[in-house]
């Protein structure tokens, strides 16, 4: 399955922006579904990725390579593990396609009526959970995250992540996500 993801030319480890992006997508999935973290580990077993991610501690350590986390690992993330994370994001997003579509459909309807997203309870719950997860795990003292002290900026990020997850869940979603991770990194 990972064979469809070629190594980008001239890159041997996962770039900084890609680590941030993958961790954010996983965070959004955890906000969509409370059991998403268990589902991620199930996907690891289903795709036989235990060689790279043998247990949840290693999975957490890999996610901590995101430079904006409070507890961050400075070790580089190899491309093989980046591919594993990409596959996990895509597989879990595919299993939540119906939920993602539903939330975005309601968002359209609310937007058409000039109503805020918090008007709809499941959407409000998703946004609230995302904000809590984000503030708990990310280092808001970093200048790059200063913007996200504001609730509306975090809400906008959460809604953008819903669309990104839906784009990942499509037929060619895995390839699209993989190549997008290296946008601006290849020479």
């Amino acid at each position: 399955m990972l064979a469809v993801l070629p190594d980008p030319p001239g890159i041997s480890v996962c770039p900084r922006r890609a680590r941030w992006q993958l961790d954010l997508l996983l965070l959004a999935l955890e906000s969509v579904d409370l059991n998403a973290s268990e589902l991620m580990l199930q996907v690891v077993r289903d795709l036989q990725l235990q060689v790279m991610i043998p247990n949840r501690v290693i999975f957490w350590q890999i996610r901590c390579t995101n430079p904006f986390r409070q507890v961050t690992q400075r070790t580089p993330l190899p491309l093989s593990e980046t591919k594993a994370l990409t596959a996990i994001v895509v597989q879990v997003a595919r299993r939540h396609t119906a939920t993602l579509r539903h939330l975005l459909l309601v968002l359209d309807q609310l937007h058409a009526q000039n109503l805020p997203p918090e008007t709809y309870a499941p959407l409000a719950e998703y946004l609230d959970r995302f904000r809590r997860h984000f503030r708990k795990r990310m280092n808001l003292q970093r200048s790059g995250l200063f913007l996200y002290k504001d609730n509306s900026a975090l809400n906008e990020l959460a809604l953008q992540l819903l669309v990104q997850l839906l784009l990942c869940a499509g037929t060619k979603g895995m390839e699209r996500l993989w190549f997008s991770l290296f946008d601006g990194e290849v020479s």
Partner: protein, 218 residues
Amino acid sequence: MLLQRQYSLPNCTLRIEGLSSQGHGAGQLDVVTVCECEIVGQPAPLKGGKDFLVALLSSVPAAAQTWLSGVKLRRSPQQAIQVDTQSFNQVWLRIPGDLLLLPEGTSARMVEICLTWLQLADLVEALDQFCSDSQTLPTLTPTFSSLPRRAIAPAVPLRQQLTPLGIGAASLAVMAALFFHMPVPQRRPEDPELNQPPPTTAPSPLLPEANPPAPAGN
């Protein structure tokens, strides 16, 4: 034999009509005559030929990838169909009129439609399903590639990077001009009284002595 393929998503239906060059009985569509894209909420379907289909394939998936990566491009891509995803939940598709088969009596230089994020995702998925179909235009395969570094706009724009430098240079020039016109301070002649040593004063009898004499007797 006329062949028709349809890729249906809740918000978008992509319909392709064409012929098979391999004669009767062959199910492979490899000559496109009409491509129709019907998007829910739009007044009329977008209809065109193979050029329209190729333009859609070259612009919409690329825009979706850029949206996914979240990077800003240095300049908008030189595609026939322009996809603008700047506003919240609004994606503008600008399609040149010559790519479309417009109803008779109507003409337009550019057709603009506004999609929501969900409609864009469905359009991308319909195009992906079409590309994955080995029975429809098998030579038309999607090509994915990452954007090169030179295509990406810097995170901090050049103007913003140069602003502090400009302000610093300007303030230096202003202060230099100001000090240039100010008179040079003259040195005052030294006052001889100030150079005299301070007069020494005799110790006051009222002040207690530092070492009082020890009491006599005892």
